[in-house]
């Protein structure tokens, strides 16, 4: 099977259960948004997929091959990390050369062209780059590698709006040019909503949702009106959040939209991905309190 399969992965750090029997699949040829609040377990799962930390239980398969300590998956996956793992004393160009040695699929010309586009001085040492440019450097390496699975962990950290836009457009161009899987872990959900096809939402070490963006946006909506009317409407529906503003009540609902009752003063609105994310993770938080 062409996919990253995560089967029953559990990871504990002392008293904290970072991942609790997580199972999910990242299929080949899709762009995923991997979302979750701080400490939800995103980076832990990414680190397990990338063989940087070990799972206490379960396994990760990449195209059916176990990913744990296995060089057979080396040319299948690349993970751009939020953490700085590169030698800080090497120049950008030296890093490109080493990446070319380590990965046969690294396109040096593309890396140099992207560096020019981003105005990244390839003769600077990694330590001399600003936080934003360190992110750009890591992005360029990830975008210049044509491996089947590329994971971006907080790819736009420290990038200004122009550079973020450039990244999104380059990512889409890459995806159009050669089918592969991009998994993007980020907090900037709205910026991604036009790019990603599927969302995986993780909260408190558990996958709480995996669905296409299209379906999610179709299913998620809000209803507002007087408290009594909203409560009536919500009966039997999957309410993921409620807000009250004076006499006005807003309910956030997941599920099929049905016609509003006749003469109703209720108003129905679409929900954006960020709101949906906030409400689902809030709900998870309340349930666990």
């Amino acid at each position: 099977m062409e996919a990253i399969q995560i089967k029953g992965v559990t990871k504990r750090y002392k008293d904290v259960l970072a991942l609790d029997n997580v199972s999910l699949t990242f299929e080949f040829g899709k762009i995923y948004g991997f979302l979750g609040r701080n400490g939800a377990g995103k980076s832990t799962l990414i680190n397990i997929i990338a063989n940087r930390v070990f799972a206490d239980g379960g396994e990760v398969l990449i195209d059916g091959i176990p990913a744990n300590e296995n060089m057979a998956v080396h040319d299948k996956i690349f993970c751009m990390s939020e953490a700085d793992l590169y030698d800080r004393d090497l120049k950008v160009i030296e890093h490109y050369k080493w990446t070319k040695r380590f990965y046969s699929d690294f396109d040096m010309n593309k890396a140099l062209a992207l560096s020019e586009k981003y105005d990244l001085d390839v003769n600077k040492r990694f330590r001399a780059l600003s936080k934003g440019y360190q992110s750009i450097f890591k992005l360029i390496i990830a975008l210049s590698l044509t491996v089947p699975y590329v994971i971006f962990d907080e790819p736009v950290l420290g990038l200004d709006a122009n550079h973020r836009e450039l990244f999104y457009s380059l990512l889409l161009k890459e995806f159009e040019e050669g089918e592969r899987t991009f998994i993007i872990a980020t907090h900037l959900i709205e910026e991604l909503s036009n790019i990603i096809e599927e969302v995986v939402l993780i909260d408190k070490g558990k996958v709480v949702l995996q669905e296409s963006v299209e379906n999610l946006l179709e299913k998620g909506y809000s209803i507002s009106g007087s408290a009594a009317e909203v409560e009536n409407y919500c009966a039997g529906r999957n309410v993921i959040g409620i807000e009250e503003l004076g006499g006005l009540k807003i309910a956030y609902i997941m599920g099929e939209k049905t016609a509003l009752p006749k003469d109703s003063s209720l108003q129905i609105s679409a929900m954006n991905l960020q709101k949906l994310f906030v409400k689902i993770t809030e709900k998870g938080g309340e349930e666990n309190e």
Partner: protein, 238 residues
């Protein structure tokens, strides 16, 4: 295999700059001391002896840093811990062999020109350049592996526990010294001493055996290497 070769190259080539700086600093200091000696005494003599000790210190630091820096870089580039271990120890051997070659050649040249004494020469004499280089290579590689293992232990158990382990090791050394002095019979102490001297090539009949110290350092290096492998297999990115 190609990936391992690339990793070994990375381990070696990224050390060239600090290595060049080290030799520049080391020999500049030696030349400066020599100049002062010449100015003060009028005699042309070596500024310092046994510069291999400085190389061993440099390689110990490199061994410790190899874990801190290269481990992260290799994980970033998708290498498994087995590959990281193999490439690290191959690069230790290559860097040690290169430095040993420089130190052997320069040391012997300086010995015959300005009365400089190499560490190997002081112990075993100046007759055998090949064993001088081999012995020094293994000594350097052993220092690398000891400090690589130490860095792995510190990473695994944390600084405070590592400090406590350090204190414990110092305590054990003191106990062993006391054991030798007050508990063990003089016959046994003498036998252990003879065994240790033999292990480092100093035979009972006063001759020198070059094979024994080589074997001894291979065994010591292998013990620390295996310890490092056992630890790195379980080491996670922090």
């Amino acid at each position: 295999m190609n990936k391992l070769k690339s990793a070994v190259f990375y381990g070696c080539l990224t050390k060239i700059r600090p290595l060049v700086i080290f030799y520049l600093v080391e020999y500049s200091i030696s030349v400066l001391i020599m100049a002062i000696v010449v100015l003060c005494t009028g005699k042309l003599e070596a500024g310092s002896n046994g510069l291999e000790v400085a190389s061993a210190v440099f390689l110990s630091v490199m061994g410790a840093l190899s874990f801190r820096e290269d481990f992260k870089a290799f994980l970033q580039n998708g290498f498994t811990r087995r590959y990281i271990f193999l490439s690290t120890f191959c690069s230790f051997l290559l860097v040690s062999a290169s430095m040993a070659l420089i130190d052997t050649l320069l040391g012997n040249l300086l010995h015959h020109s300005i009365n400089y004494f190499t560490f190997f020469g002081m112990l075993y004499g100046y007759g055998n350049m090949l064993f001088n280089w081999l012995w020094l290579t293994l000594v350097y590689a052993t220092f690398c592996s000891i400090f690589y293992l130490a860095a792995l232990v510190v990473n695994k158990v944390g600084r405070i526990t590592a400090l406590l382990i350090g204190v414990g090791i110092a305590g054990v050394i003191l106990l062993i010294a006391a054991l030798f002095r007050f508990v063990l019979s003089s016959e046994l102490v003498s036998r252990i001493g003879r065994f240790a001297l033999n292990a480092f090539g100093f035979m009972n009949d006063g001759t020198v055996n070059f094979i024994f110290p080589v074997l001894t350092f291979i065994v010591i290096g292998a013990v620390f290497g295996l310890g490092s492998y056992a630890l790195i297999r379980r080491t996670e990115l922090k």
